[in-house]
Point group: C2
């Protein structure tokens, strides 16, 4: 299990303890409406490109209306109109490079506020009862870490009473209220996290994340046109996909969905709302459902291939092999906010010395080397080397837990293409391979094919 | 006394009863700071053009810093950056011409929110302790009239404790929180009203309104270059100047300043903050102090000449002279939100019929005529006539109360210039003359000179 993975799981456990709001899998509320279908309670989340201008906000309103007309209870979480957050952030930087995070939050949270009001208006114009909610009105309570706050508690009572009364709640994403009674933002990508947390708090049957892609693919379709959209993927697999570069959902929101068992559906907001028949249920909709592995009947051994470019490798040669050596190396790096991945330790010839090799992102490599130079006397390595221009290819599948020999198939396939493997790490449900980044596309396509993922 | 004037006074009395917060003249708090000067508590208000971009916000921060360094306790009230409110309003119109005022308030109030955060940052960068306050955080409580809410109560305790502790309060103007726990805006120009209300609530010694002019002039300097900036003007006179087109301050904020006795100082935000010596006291600063008439030692008979163009006159000929006829005419106009001014009733030849003549703004004339056509059977007039292209010139001065013959000087001077007077109305501290609007500039200059107002 990689250190990243371990970190996330530890983190999730802490979350599970701290969060006072609804735990475990979401409850299905089997209330029946006039259409004879069971009423579902859903959260719909729309990102910045989906609400970029007035026309797109109208399109979002049509999506919401469709769900309301299908008899569902709906809460909507919105981001700022595309470009607005960047504008606001640039003003804060211009006025004060080292600014008060509480004031940053006041400025930047206004973007979502505007969208929430506009969408509520658009819904009302369509005859849909709706009102906007700011984080402080719900209240969605956070800790005091302004600019990157964590959600502590959502007092969902008022929200639930309005939603179950048939009023659509249009919630400004990305924001809450801190213990200081001031607006706190959740950091970039926080709207996904807002949506999942709201879904957990109101015990929603599903959280629909509308985005500019129509689901999660077996790999990047720009590299492999035969990539398939997955109908379903488990939380654990999605966490690996997200943290390894699939870029569909923020890692943090997937973590939270997993901890609270929020069934999360990734779908496109650019589909014509009129062409979607919501009453037919999730399975027939275009998109990917991220859910508990129990919900996935036919489990594939390999689910997807992810990759990250811009990796760099640092090697410390002939380090004394003594207790505490890992802490001496990785402690200073962590203190400097440098994320370390793919750690390989090999024993050198005489057994008293070891070589430590690990990856960092290419952007961090100079800083990492500087930190290690400064810590040289404490570590006592002989040589420091670094390589850039590397890529990490990851093969993910929950079925690996019960299938042996999955990785060896990859090694053979890559060898056949003369792709050199520089490092390997494995965890329960994935393995990652470090290669020269020039071979990224070839490796992704090769593995996509060899594991039978092509359409 | 004109009906407009009467309305304002009645209104002010209602305000005085309803408003639970600090009444009467502001208290001067004679605390002394380390400079040996008495500490003043001041409110500084900056409009949209004063905070139009990052550089101007920095200039505002310099103004605030100057007051802080002079040992004053400071609250700042800010508008949205120039153009922002219009952008937000246009979005609300585009998305829903008939929109929910509560959602309008959510969208539009974000403009002031952004400025408050940016200015707090700019102050902190200058080493000044500051924090932003939204209406809901103070709280500044309003009624439920979203989009044009009235301030009901300001719970100033927290604000006072922070300000007197040396922290600058940067308050988003134009907004408060309604009894429904939702953001309510005060309507256009509401930031002036916010500032005066905050000043009353925190018992400020002075409310400084920084604007794009450097004070209140004896008349419009674009018409009469010899117009003088007044050092002081009474609340009552300013109310007449503001309601008659001086455009420096919203009528509503002057009303509130009068009711609560808030000394209000109009000054330019474009002055170089470094060149102003704040410790020398208000009298030596460039600007106009609006204050109680008791503070004005040498009272002029005539203080200023105001004007409004785009006036129209409507005459109803041969109306039966019976009780209730005024209500029959002006009731339907009021119901249609048409403001009526300068009403003249003249008796026709045989005494049983009367002619009713009054002015409305040129933009309302067609609607007014339509309303009166519809009400014809109830009023029973014989002919309806209208004239457009008129102007109202007003001569204002609190000294008129104790001086006779002030108006006749004007009549003689205008007659000498062959300017025909079409109607006259008088009140205790002003009189107004209706003329052909082509003669506006000539009449303003003539009266400005004849009353000795030229520099």
């Amino acid at each position: 299990m990689s250190s990243v993975r371990r970190f996330i799981l530890q983190h999730s456990r802490i979350l599970a303890k701290q969060r006072p709001f609804a735990q475990g899998t979401a409850l299905s509320v089997f209330v029946f409406n006039f259409t004879g279908k069971p009423v579902a309670r859903i959260v719909m989340k729309f990102g910045g490109t989906s609400v970029a201008d007035i026309d797109r906000i109208r399109n979002v309103a049509a999506h919401v209306k469709r769900e309301v007309e299908a008899g569902n209870e709906v809460a909507v979480v919105v981001s700022a109109m595309a470009g607005k957050t960047n504008e606001l952030v640039s003003w804060t930087r211009e006025i004060a490079p080292m600014h008060d995070a509480r004031e940053y939050d006041v400025v930047v949270s206004s973007g979502e506020q505007v969208t929430s009001g506009l969408l509520a208006m658009a819904l009302q114009t369509e005859g849909v009862d709706a009102r906007s909610w700011q984080g402080w009105q719900i209240p969605l309570k956070t800790d005091n870490a302004h600019g990157a706050a964590r959600i502590m508690d959502i007092d969902a009572e008022l929200l639930i009473s309005r939603i179950s009364g048939g009023q659509v709640a249009v919630i400004a994403g990305f924001q809450g209220i801190g213990p200081d009674n001031r607006v706190a933002t959740l950091g970039r990508g926080g709207s996904d996290t807002s949506a999942v947390a709201i879904a957990a708090a109101i015990k929603a049957d599903r959280c629909d994340i509308y985005t500019d892609v129509d689901g999660v693919y077996t790999t990047d379709p720009r590299i492999e046109p035969r990539a398939r959209r997955m109908d379903r993927i488990s939380f654990e697999e999605m966490l690996e996909m997200a943290s390894l570069g699939a870029k569909v959902l923020q890692v943090r929101s997937v973590e939270m969905a997993m901890v609270h068992g929020v069934r999360t559906f990734v779908r496109s907001s650019f589909d014509d709302p009129a062409s979607i028949n919501s009453q037919s249920g999730t399975d027939e909709l275009a998109g990917t459902l991220i859910c508990d592995e129990d919900e996935i009947v036919e489990q594939e051994v390999v689910t997807g291939i992810a990759y990250t470019k811009d990796e760099a490798q640092i090697s410390l040669r002939r380090v004394p092999d003594r207790p505490g050596i890992s802490a001496a190396i990785f402690g200073p790096l962590a203190d400097n906010h440098i994320n370390v991945d793919m750690i390989v330790q090999s024993v050198s010839e005489d057994g008293s010395k070891t070589d430590m090799t690990f990856t960092v992102s290419e952007g961090d490599v100079n800083k990492a080397k500087q930190v290690l130079e400064e810590a040289r006397s404490g570590i006592n390595y002989e040589i420091i080397q670094s390589d850039t221009g590397l890529a990490k290819i990851s093969v993910i599948g929950i079925g690996m837990r019960s299938h042996a020999g999955v990785a060896s198939t990859a090694f053979a396939a890559l060898a056949e293409k003369n792709i050199n493997i520089r490092a390997i790490t494995t965890s329960e449900i994935k393995f990652s391979i470090l290669i020269d980044s020039d071979y990224t596309e070839l490796a992704v396509r090769t593995l996509h094919s060899v594991y039978g993922l092509n359409q």
